[in-house]
């Protein structure tokens, strides 16, 4: 895809002006890093507050066609407990195919108004596919209304609350995985306490015409810097969060992907979602292969696609995400191994450029998540 055909987010000009190195990502020209560099951007986000442009992600409303709860409809293809979401509460869930494979992961929030409407954020690379699946499977029950005129930014890090509360004190009142409408700089924004860095922070949906002004206001703080896709990837990897299409794909169930926390307890009992037969069987017996953390013993990073071998050198799986963890201070990775290798501490080898490097199966996250939960959930 040539640069001319790449889409631009409403914040594109700001990235270029800030010295962002623009690269193609999911059809958009996105900043992979700024002059600070990936390592320092990563550390800045863990110490202060990082500002991310995630406007390339898909934002939509889901309404029901007959006035009933649209969550009842989407629960048919998502295993999360969504009907029970109260207004202002959100949940990480998965879009499943008929075989129980994961087409994408997404965030579903119950809005305050219009009553019953769901606000959904899906991955940039999957948004057209996701909307097509929703239309094809549930088009008779729900309407998907893509929000094309809104930017989405994330403010992540230990200083995020202080910075955002200086614009709107209400922001401090939100608990992790809660969302509400908050007026920022005179503009009504949809603000959630969520993110994908393992840090406390917010995602802010803002009308595109107002997005640059809001970002400039946030960047006026010494505690805020732009963070690019490079550090976004190392931040989420360190805290063990999956990248859709890499750490799982449509062939893998939530059990194999080790994201069973996204399957509601009652949903398991009822088994009333796509692919439930296979998923419930794997819940009981384990998946043939599943995602684990992998800690290389040496310093060489193991990138996506690196072959995982047993101690005899037989290939047993592949790394799906891997690199250097700046906060961890060494290489970290995730990958799929057979059930008999999933125990933490199991020794494996990584075949990097033809040479075997020792590694161990490890617990994730590699770096502690620091969400601001109101209560233990």
């Amino acid at each position: 895809m040539s640069d001319e055909t790449l889409l631009k987010t409403p914040l594109y000009d700001m990235h270029v002006a800030a010295g962002g190195k623009m690269v193609p990502f999911a059809g958009y020209a996105m900043p992979v890093q700024y002059p600070l560099g990936i390592m320092k951007e990563h550390e800045f986000c863990r110490e202060k507050a990082g500002l991310f442009d995630v406007s390339h992600m898909g934002q939509c409303y889901i309404h029901s066609k007959d006035g009933s709860d649209p969550a009842a409809a989407i629960e048919k293809i998502m295993p999360g407990a969504l009907q029970v979401l109260k207004p202002g509460k959100m949940r990480y869930t998965l879009l499943l195919n008929d075989e129980g494979g994961i087409e994408d992961d997404l965030m579903v929030t119950r809005t305050h108004e219009p009553e019953g409407t769901l606000y959904v954020v899906v991955n940039a690379a999957c948004k057209d596919k996701d909307y097509d699946i929703l239309e094809e499977k549930l088009g008779h029950l729900i309407t998907v209304e893509p929000l094309e005129d809104r930017a989405l930014i994330a403010l992540q890090g230990p200083k995020a609350e202080e910075v955002l509360a200086s614009l709107a004190p209400d922001a401090a009142e939100l608990g992790f995985m809660e969302a509400t409408a908050i007026t920022l700089e005179g503009v009504v924004c949809w603000v959630s306490r969520s993110g994908y860095t393992g840090e406390d922070g917010y995602e802010i949906s803002v009308p595109e015409s107002e997005a640059q002004a809001l970002c400039n206001r946030l960047l006026a703080s010494d505690d805020v810097e732009w963070i690019g896709l490079g550090a976004r990837d190392s931040l989420r990897l360190e805290v063990g969060l999956c990248l859709s299409g890499h750490d799982f794909d449509a062939s893998v169930t939530p059990v194999g992907a080790n994201v069973t926390f996204a399957i509601g307890k009652k949903r398991r009992e009822d088994g009333d979602f796509a692919g439930a037969d296979r998923i419930l069987k794997e819940l009981a017996e384990g998946a043939a292969n599943s995602r684990v953390g992998i800690l290389p013993a040496g310093r060489a990073p193991a990138r996506e696609g690196t072959i995982i071998a047993d101690m005899e050198g037989n290939e047993i799986g592949k790394i799906t995400s891997g690199g250097f963890g700046p906060t961890f201070g060494g290489p970290v990775a995730m990958g799929y191994v057979p059930q008999s290798f999933t125990e933490v501490g199991t020794e494996v080898q990584l075949l990097i450029r033809g040479k075997a490097h020792p590694a161990k199966v490890a617990a994730t996250p590699f770096v502690e998540q620091r969400y601001k939960r109101k209560q233990v959930s």
């Binding site: 890093q33 990936i38 390592m39």
Partner: protein, 122 residues
């Protein structure tokens, strides 16, 4: 005598041995270096062979032998401190020393002025 290649390597030539590293331009383009895989002392390479790998946070990049020869020494300091490639690309961040098989291969390389012009034109 210092020479440069279009692959952004520098060679400090002393007799028939060249100390090889990557230029400031190259380290800047790569970003934060977190790991360098160095060749074995005693290994021989032809010009253009993959001789080392430099890993930044984001990606791995190959380093190719700028000329044919035998590795006589590697910079072991890079094992503990790969960031030297960023902070001292032109001296402390050197990669390896190579015994030059054919000094004629140096003739095709750029001097400092020519390399500066080459980078200017990128």
């Amino acid at each position: 005598m210092i020479k440069f290649t279009e692959e952004h390597e520098w060679l400090e030539v002393d007799g028939d041995v060249a100390t090889v590293g990557i230029t400031d331009y190259a380290q800047n383009a790569l970003g934060d270096v977190v790991f360098v895989e160095l060749p074995e002392v005693g290994a021989t390479y032809e010009k253009g062979d993959e001789v080392a790998v430099v890993e930044s946070v984001k990606a791995a990049s190959e380093v190719y032998a700028p000329l044919a020869g035998e590795i006589t020494e590697v910079n072991e300091a890079l094992e503990g401190e790969p960031a030297l490639v960023n902070s001292a690309a032109m001296d402390g961040g050197w990669f390896f020393k190579i015994k030059i098989a054919d000094k004629g291969e140096l003739d095709d390389m750029m001097d400092e002025t020519a390399y500066a012009e080459f980078v200017e034109g990128l």
